[in-house]
């Protein structure tokens, strides 16, 4: 993408909205009706699976096996959530996911922005070669098993470090932050110099506060990525139950139901009941409840995300 291609629209929209007049013609009315109908159907298709899962998770487990639950629970019950919350593994996985996400966001933002500051300084002599080395990593990956062997040889298997150390810096976010820092007027940084601030202090006290909006966007994306990841748990930390994450627990449930499905000829969840701590539920209900628990934090930050992600995407495209 060229920078002109994306940079332009930001300046233009008001001009265009004014120039278009609204005219009602037969063609226009028919088109608008069809278009609105289509978009509403599309939105329904996007939301239905989520509402269906929510309804199933709030429905009685034995009743859900009969099928036919729409977007409203048929026999309302909170039992599935009681079961999920009484499962020690899920509990622990939830807190591990939260802890991991927080640590990844903090370390990633800290180190990526520190490096971005150094690379945004025009006078920095090794700016170009260092940037190139980082950018190339967006396109080069040694592969799954070599990466696994490195973590193993560093002695980080089955440790919390395996979650945050390998993802301390993201080349893509580095470019976004560097671009934003470059747009900060040189005078601000020079005045900090005159007041006696060194590079480190300039970065922490002057540049970082100015980058808050971009840091927020980048941080949210990092958080979503970390919350959603499961492969790191599978590869590096599946040997220790206390390091398990919510996505990985959900993946294990999904895998067992897929295997059961393959064996019973396509029925993705067998009707067998699951007894857990004196409660009775069914795999399908249990899976729905865990899916909701895993999705809710994302849906919770979504309003904040959607306010910012377009601008974040634009910054990414308009780098220079």
């Amino acid at each position: 993408m060229s920078s002109t291609l994306v940079a332009k629209p930001l300046a233009q929209p008001t001009l265009r909205r004014r120039s278009r007049r609204r005219r009602w013609t037969a063609e226009g009315v028919i088109f608008t009706t069809l278009n609105t109908t289509f978009l509403l159907l599309l939105a329904a298709a996007m939301i239905y699976p989520l509402l269906n899962t929510l309804a199933t998770s709030l429905n009685d487990g034995m009743d859900a096996v009969r099928g036919g639950i729409g977007i409203w629970p048929r026999v309302f019950s909170l039992k599935n959530y009681e079961v999920v919350l009484s499962m020690h593994t899920i509990y622990q996985a939830f807190f591990m996911s939260v802890l991991k996400t927080i640590v990844v966001v903090v370390t990633n933002l800290l180190f990526t922005s520190m490096l971005a500051y150094a690379l945004s300084r025009n006078e920095f002599i090794f700016r170009r070669p260092i940037t190139l080395i980082f950018v190339l990593t967006m396109y080069f990956d040694a592969g799954l098993i070599p990466n696994y062997l490195l973590i193993r040889d560093l002695g980080m298997l089955n440790s919390f470090q395996a979650y945050w150390v390998p993802v301390m810096i993201s080349a893509f976010n580095l470019i976004i932050l560097r671009t934003y820092m470059k747009s900060i007027p040189e005078e601000i940084i020079e005045s900090a110099r005159i007041d006696g601030a060194g590079e480190f202090r300039t970065w922490w006290l002057i540049v970082m506060p100015l980058c808050k909006p971009t840091l927020a966007v980048v941080g949210l994306f990092v958080a979503v990525g970390s919350w959603n990841s499961w492969l790191d748990t599978l590869l590096y930390n599946s040997g220790e139950q206390w390091l398990s994450t919510l996505q990985y627990e959900l993946q294990k449930l999904l895998a067992s139901s897929m295997n059961a499905g393959a064996n019973s000829g396509g029925n993705a969840a067998s009707a067998a009941s699951v007894a857990q701590g004196g409660q009775v539920t069914t795999p399908i209900s249990l899976r729905s409840a865990i899916t909701v628990v895993a999705a809710v934090p994302i849906l919770f930050v979504y309003p904040f995300l959607q306010k910012h992600f377009v601008s974040g995407l634009m910054i990414g495209s308009v780098k220079g």
């Binding site: 088109f31 269906n52 520190m114 170009r128 260092i130 396109y139 799954l144 098993i145 990092v222």
Partner: protein
């Protein structure tokens, strides 16, 4: 692989791969080069290095970190040339076998399986790319025709949302949606109540459906998200073109097909080219989660092969060879795709 979102974002938003932007980069580079020759400020001397010691202290440890975690793992490629047995100890105590693993992977029984794996990777990615691009263009055009701004915003926010759900959740939703009605399979239920089928279709056990399921699920997840760049390109179209067309009596459809669509054509082409560079790297989670034994002939992709056959069964050598193959081909593809996009960019946009 852990930040797949970022890599799709890179692929989707398609920023320039190198630190130089496509436009004006030439003059920028030239200036920098002449500066480096003339300007004493850019010369590398011990004095300058000492003066910039704080910047160096901020950058160099992280540079070493990045080299350790992204470039050093290449030593693992040695396993591709060994008969790797974990019991023998470390990587340097293994038996070297030259290119034997490469011959093994590309010929004979394994060769047939690997050819199928490559075909599945290409097939699933291509279908996903075509369906996804087409869908996103259509949706962008339709959203652009919505004049009611709040309605448009609500529609955008709803269609963007699935992008942020994890692949585990999306695969879980898909497996429920496609299952039998008794397991909550509402797609079968809808088909049956509309009398389109008499018996529920066993979507996830029928190999012929698998590529379509991958493409369809990808469409559901990324459709709205993929419209963002097209919508941005649409707002960049010169509004006087629409006015001129209106004066000439062009209706809504005429404007859509003769102004909007040609207006975003360069974006479409550039994004298609850049995304096709990622064709070996894109689909991993869905075939891994949804592919069971019954559909593995169409489900297994290169990454799934590496994870299942290599990591889970401990056949490191063959899996590493498959990984080397993927990385090398992917670099060639991504490199040429970016080159092509850049060249095209300069011809059509500048």
């Amino acid at each position: 692989m852990t930040d797949a979102t970022v890599s799709t974002l890179v692929a989707g938003s398609g920023p320039e791969p190198d630190p130089e932007p496509a436009n004006g980069s030439r003059s920028g580079k030239r200036k920098a080069r002449t500066n480096a020759a003339k300007d004493p400020r850019r010369e590398i001397t011990w004095d300058r290095i000492w003066a910039q010691r704080v910047l160096l202290a901020m950058a160099v440890p992280l540079l070493l970190y990045q080299i350790l975690f992204k470039y050093v793992p290449v030593y693992g490629w040695a396993i591709g040339f060994q008969d790797y047995k974990p019991g023998r100890g470390g990587i340097w105590e293994q038996e070297w076998v030259g290119l034997e693993n490469f011959v093994d992977l590309f010929t004979g029984v394994n060769g047939e399986r690997f050819a199928r794996v490559v075909a599945n990777t290409l097939g699933q990615s291509t279908l996903t790319l075509i369906v996804g691009t087409f869908g996103a263009i259509v949706l962008a055009l339709l959203l652009n025709e919505v004049k009611n701004q709040p309605f448009k915003r609500v529609m955008q926010n709803i269609t963007y949302m699935p992008h942020f759900l994890s692949w585990v959740i999306v695969a879980s939703l898909a497996s429920v949606a496609l299952s039998l009605p008794s397991s909550g399979g509402f797609i079968n239920q809808a088909l049956m109540s509309l009398n389109l089928v008499d018996e529920p279709i066993l979507f996830l056990t029928e190999p012929n459906y698998f590529w379509g399921i991958v493409a369809g699920t990808n469409l559901w997840k990324e459709l709205g998200w993929n419209t963002i760049l097209y919508l941005a390109a649409i707002t960049a179209i010169d509004p006087t073109l629409y006015e001129a067309a209106e004066v000439d009596g062009a209706g809504r459809y005429r404007k859509m097909f003769s102004i909007t669509l040609p207006g975003i054509m360069p974006t479409i082409v550039v994004l298609l080219i850049i995304n096709s560079g990622w064709i070996l790297s894109t689909n991993f989670e869905l075939p891994y989660f949804l592919g069971n034994g019954l559909v593995s002939e169409t489900a297994e992709t290169i990454d799934v092969f590496v994870l299942r056959y290599g990591y889970e069964l401990g056949n490191y050598s063959l899996a590493v060879v498959a990984g080397i193959f993927k990385t090398v081909v992917a670099i060639i593809l991504v490199g040429s795709a970016n080159l092509a996009a850049k060249r095209l960019n300069q011809e059509t946009l500048v």
